[in-house]
Symmetry: C2
Subunit: 201 residues, 2 copies
DNA sequence: TTTTATTGATTGAACGTTCAATAAAAAAAT
DNA sequence: ATTTTTTTATTGAACGTTCAATCAATAAAA
């Protein structure tokens, strides 16, 4: 089978297999052998393409964050409406796109969340992502209210998004994305209700 | 040193040492040796008092959940006011008491959260706790609004509490309990604003 | 003397990594 | 169009490490 140009294919395969393994038995029991078996390759190949298990885990987290960023950016680009409320809604919806990529991604995300507290490399990635969400929310709220109030609103909405998502990941039935979106949008409406809307809304 | 009646003392010591070890290096690297060293005893004693590492981890999670339940119950018992809003406020405040028991507890909690997805024993504990929070919130909201609306409110507030707490655990500076409480209370006020209050409030 | 508490060396299993060997494809030579 | 050579991809057994659990030995209290 050895063909040229396997690198991107195998990398993708192994990243997906990592999520599947974590979904199956959790990060603690996701051994290189189990991951390799999910991908249908041998264990040694992981060191070959990622330098080791840690490299694979980091690449997997990068993939998840990158997918999330893409989902949010796409929804914002598709907006006909430029008003802050529409942007904020798009950020919410984008964040719950993670559930389209469903179960495996959710469990992997939570596993990395816990793990990032003690692995500097993952911690950096996690913080960049956190700050991106907060910062996006903040700059939109800023167009509708004073700075301190905008910060409070951003912290609140970020917490609401993460909280809904966390509870969804822990529920055996998985996240009900529509219901979660609705709750987040209602909260957003309440945050905005005290502030006069832009002309369009 | 061997005295009689060591069991409760050692158990408490080892549970505390478990949280310290998880706070220090994470659940994955919290070996029995490291935990034992934190408690100033030998590794073998863990199997003696808890039947093994898993037993110690389960006991540690039980302790955390029990402390949380006690904190909430105490605040509710201390209420002069019987109105639903006061109870809901007490539930919020009780949940952010976890931060008094500070850093180690927060990290341990999050670690168990992730781990509980794949360990049936921990999962059971986690779900009982989840349901207790939801159910407490729900029955209070129920006194102010129709059932379906109460459920929505309970889901929202539970998500807000967990979200704030999660983000606090991940922040290097730790959770700002006062700020989190304030955000949760504001959200609660917004949830109740559409409903006429009871006589007292 | 009996009971209770504790130690720490030992054991066996499991893990990630390494590396020589292999096999297939691509390139070069005939 | 073959054959040979080179390159790339992959395997899987071996190695060294680490861990949880065990248990005979020990020591203090009862």
């Amino acid at each position: 089978m050895p063909k040229v140009g396997m690198q991107p294919i195998r990398r993708q395969q192994l990243i997906k297999a990592t999520m599947a393994a974590i979904d199956e038995v959790g990060l603690a029991d996701a051994t290189v052998m189990r991951i390799a078996r999910h991908a249908g390759v041998s264990a040694g190949i992981i060191s070959h393409y990622f330098g080791g298990k840690d490299g694979l885990l980091e690449a997997t987290m990068r993939q998840i964050l990158s997918d999330l960023g893409t989902a949010v950016a796409a929804r914002r680009r598709a907006l006909a409406d430029e008003c802050p409320r529409a942007h904020l809604g798009a950020i919410i919806d984008g964040n719950f796109d993670r559930s389209q990529i469903t179960g495996p991604v959710a469990k992997t995300w939570l596993a990395f969340w816990a793990s990032s507290m003690h692995k500097p490399t993952l911690q950096r990635l996690q913080r960049v992502n956190d700050h991106r969400l907060y910062s996006n929310l903040c700059s939109q709220f800023r167009r509708l209210m004073p700075r301190e109030e905008a910060r409070r609103a951003a912290r609140g909405l970020a917490a609401m998004i993460d909280g809904l998502w966390l509870r969804g990941a822990l529920t055996p039935a998985g996240l009900d994305a529509d219901r979660a979106r609705r709750l987040a949008h209602e909260y957003l409406d309440q945050l905005l209700v005290t502030h006069p809307s832009s002309p369009l809304s």
